[in-house]
Amino acid sequence: MCSEIENCEGPDAAETVFFGGGTPSLVAPESLEEIFAALHSRFTFTNPEITIEANPDDVDAALASAWRSIGVNRISLGVQSFNDAALHYLGRRHDAARAHRACEIVRERFENWSLDLIFGAPPVSAWEETLRTCVELAPPHVSAYGLTYEEGTPFGKRKSEAVDEETSLTMYRQARAALTDYARYEISNFARPGCECRHNLVYWRNEEYAGFGPGAYSYVNRVRARNATKTDEYLSAPGKKDETLHLSDREIRVETVIQYLRLRAGLRNRAYLERFGNTVREDFGVVIDGLIRRGLIAEDGDGIRPTELGFELNNEIGLALV
């Protein structure tokens, strides 16, 4: 991975690092340190946000301190739930008590940290319980995702167990109501002022990023590409892509608007104009008017943003734009 980092193309300035996907908390701190060295030799960072995704099971005081000492300044803790039955359903190794302890450890060492939560796993009552505990722990940032039974995953075959749409909607609204001290700056993400995840904002603004490691995606110079997913293939040729997509100008514009409209702030007219050389209305005027009529987005002086309905039916916005 270090050689992949050192040899990668693209700009030199970088703003954020995110160790995620899989279970990076299993990586030995010494290895992380090596990766850091490679990153610093390839990129120049000024005031970077450096996040690591961590499993509550793996977190102990020593590891958390080690992360801190090598430069990690944000932890995203994959707690998912504070209800044992729900955790069991989700196939997690940790229980609620372990999750609670992990939060305490992280909170003592990091100012900026996040709780990853999932709603929709039975029992239905687990969600309120989880939200309550979350509020007590008061992390600066919370992600709350609806459980998806994605095809091709073990959950794909269990789609019939999913909670109905109405219940799922209620749960989503419960999160919003419980997290009153937070701003929901994206569909599934809540933050105290200034604690938004800078890294993920890159995705939601459809900006460029480089990905390293097996199966990692990059988006550089209008090309979205994926590294070989199998570890042995990756090791035999680090950075070799098994999927490369040259995006057309139109596709980039569509993806950009779709992504921006996941954000509470929406899309600013000026940002679009500066990036593409014309106004968003010139490209999507008819669609925008349609979406406004349907109550999915609103115009607010210098841009467009999703309405509450636009959050809950966000895919409808995407459908109209493609």
Binding site: Y145, G146, T148, E165, E166, S168, L169, Y172, I187, S188, N200, Y203, W204, N206, Y209, G211, A216, Y217, Y219, R224, R226, L245, L247, E251, V254, E255, I258, Q259, R262, R294, L296, F311, E312, L313, N314, N315, E316, G318, L319, L321, V322
Partner: protein
């Protein structure tokens, strides 16, 4: 030298599919020396190559054979092929009218089948001498006595006189031909009077134009003669005439009693009507031969090119196809959902399939076909009456005095244990019980009168299901009957979808409406707002289904690699929404094609009969 009437025999073979018709025909050809065994390809009457080198590509539907009988005389035998399927029943009746006798071929193991019956009755109606032939007597499962009994009990023929044969083994072929000579009457036309020849078939040949098959009833037709079609007065000069022996063999004249072909530079089959009478244009006969009818389409459907820019191609294809099948009709049509296309009329369901398959195969078109429907007979308050097959063109109820729908009489054969299921099915389909005949201890035949509209819908598929594939069926049109018929509209959020309107029986309206509405509910993607699907008769809503509004539709996680994947997923969904409109109109792909068949050229009648075995 002309063969005298006394030494001519005209006959055909009536058989159920797979009872050995083609094999027997081959044996007869072989025995009479028309084809020697060495050259006998499987089923000579089916092969095309034979005539191609002579500049003709169509297949013989009538052959002339010379047979030296046991009495020492030489006879001219004309063996006429008949279409095997009910859709072409008028053509069958004309072919039968060209004969004096028929061989009724029955499988020794399987016995009498629905199709055998239907055609045998037609032959009896035409006063043909019928010679029962029990075929496949060499099979271990042959039950000759039982088949003899069936022939007597069901057909009312003398089972004792049945000829025993195994066409496959060449057993009994000579006995068959001797029976033809001894039992079938010779033709009795007067050769001195003005000619009258019955057109019983016609084929289009790309080299020679239309080849007309005739049976000369009176007088003679000679080469160079100016002839006239008695139905429309069109006149032609006979460029060539003669016989298929089975090779095409030109002659100087066709005499009364003979069966042969005419080539008169006729460009299109549209100008050649089956059942018409050909006469001498200079000295025409006073009256045409009896029995001529204009054939009217009874089943209709819309056909649209799957790709909108194929419209012109479809138009050209229909024009060309009509050169060799004049029995389907077409007119331009358009639909909100499907764009420009055509509305076609057919003699029946099988005919519809043949045309559709030829369009797709021979012209390489991909078609979207709407659910088939029948033509109704509508009488206005004013007394004016007309035919209507498109529900959306129906006048307001106040202007309608009555609507009549076509009825058929069906002979449905099945093992006795399925009789109650068959009766059940017929009842559900508004059938009127006529009678039940028991063929033997194991099988029976239910005779029902049913509205054709019910048959067109899904009757065959249902019959197969209800009888586990053992049921077979034939039907004939028996005319129009008044029915409590109404126009059923389907509305989406209060707006009528033209293409989905239909004419249905009032009692069935709720069922049909519910079926359609439920199907639509499954097809229409949920929207931000509720979608009401309603079925209505006039202003009265009889069915309502609701597509619930979307409440939550969101991709919870959308990071790096997810972005493009999500866009593509949305694009796919959007495409699905567009296609939904088409699906609403249905495609015959699944509805009318219960099984996939080998690709065949549907031009020959043999094949028509084989096809129906797939369906039945």
């Amino acid at each position: 030298m002309a063969v005298p009437n006394e030494r001519i025999r005209n006959f055909c073979i009536i058989a159920h599919v797979d009872h050995g018709k083609s094999t027997l025909a081959d044996r007869i050809l072989q025995l009479t020396g028309a084809v020697d065994a060495r050259n006998l390809k499987e089923q000579t009457l089916d092969t095309m190559d034979l005539e191609r080198e002579r500049g003709i590509t169509i297949k013989a539907v009538a052959v002339r054979l010379t047979y030296k009988a046991d009495d020492g005389q030489e006879y001219a035998l004309h063996l006429i092929d008949t279409p095997g399927h009910v859709d072409f029943s008028y053509e069958v009746s004309r072919s039968l009218a060209a004969c004096e006798g028929a061989l009724l071929l029955v499988d020794a193991a399987q016995g009498v089948e629905a199709q055998t019956l239907a055609n045998a009755y037609k032959a009896i109606d035409q006063n043909l001498e019928i010679i029962p032939v029990i075929n496949k007597i060499d099979l271990p499962s042959a039950d000759i006595d039982n088949v003899r009994r069936q022939i007597e009990e069901i057909l009312g023929l003398d089972g004792a006189t049945a000829v025993l044969a195994s066409a496959k083994e060449g057993i009994g072929t000579r006995d068959v031909l001797e029976a033809v000579i001894k039992r079938i009457p010779h033709p009795k036309g007067d050769r001195q009077i003005s000619p009258r020849a019955l057109i019983f078939d016609a084929k289009y040949d790309s080299y020679r134009g239309v080849v007309v098959y005739v049976r000369v009833m009176d007088g003679r037709i000679s080469r160079g003669m100016k002839v006239q079609m008695m139905s429309n007065g069109l006149k032609y000069e006979v460029a060539e005439l003669g016989f298929f022996c089975p090779a095409i063999t030109p002659a100087d004249a066709l005499e009364a009693g003979e069966v042969g072909y005419l080539i008169c530079n006729i460009r299109s089959l549209k100008d050649t009507k089956i059942g018409d009478t050909v006469t001498d244009a200079l000295k025409p006969a006073e009256r045409p031969l009896p029995g001529y009818e204009e054939v009217q389409p009874v089943v209709f459907c819309g056909m649209y090119p799957a790709a909108a820019n194929d419209y012109q191609e479809l138009r050209d294809a229909l024009e060309r196809l009509q050169l060799n099948d004049a029995s389907f009709t077409y007119q331009a049509d358009s639909s909100d959902a499907l764009g420009l296309g055509f509305r076609l009329g057919f003699l029946g369901l099988l005919h519809m399939e043949i045309v559709q398959e030829r369009l797709e195969r021979e012209f390489d078109l991909t078609l979207v076909t709407t659910v088939p429907n029948v033509a109704y007979h509508l009488v206005r308050m004013s007394g004016e009456s007309f035919s209507i097959e498109n529900a959306s063109k129906m006048p307001p109820p106040g202007e309608i005095d009555r609507i009549e729908e076509p009825y058929i009489e069906a002979d449905i054969m099945c093992p006795t244990e399925y009789l109650s299921a068959v009766i059940d099915l017929c009842k559900k389909k508004r059938g009127i019980h006529v009678r039940v005949d028991y063929i033997d201890s194991r099988r029976c035949m239910a005779v029902y009168q049913l509205p054709l509209a019910e048959i067109v819908l899904d009757f065959y598929d249902k019959l197969k299901t209800y009888t586990r594939g053992y049921g077979s069926m034939e039907y004939r049109l028996i005319g129009f009957r008044e029915g409590d018929l109404v126009r059923l509209d389907i509305m989406l959020n209060g707006e009528i979808v033209d293409a989905l309107s239909s004419i249905v029986h009032r009692e069935r309206a709720v069922w049909v409406g519910r079926t359609l509405a439920v199907k639509l509910r499954g097809l229409i993607p949920r929207q931000q707002y509720e979608v009401a699907i309603q079925a209505a008769i006039g202003a009265k809503i009889i069915v309502r289904e609701t597509v619930k509004p979307l409440r939550k539709n969101v991709t919870a996680k959308c990071y790096g690699g997810d972005i493009t994947r999500k866009r593509k997923l949305l694009e796919k969904q959007k495409e699905g929404k567009k296609r939904m409109k088409q699906v609403c109109c249905g495609s015959t792909k699944s509805r009318n094609r219960p099984c996939r068949r080998k690709k065949r050229n549907p031009q020959t009648l043999h094949e028509r009969s084989r096809r129906c075995c797939c369906r039945r």
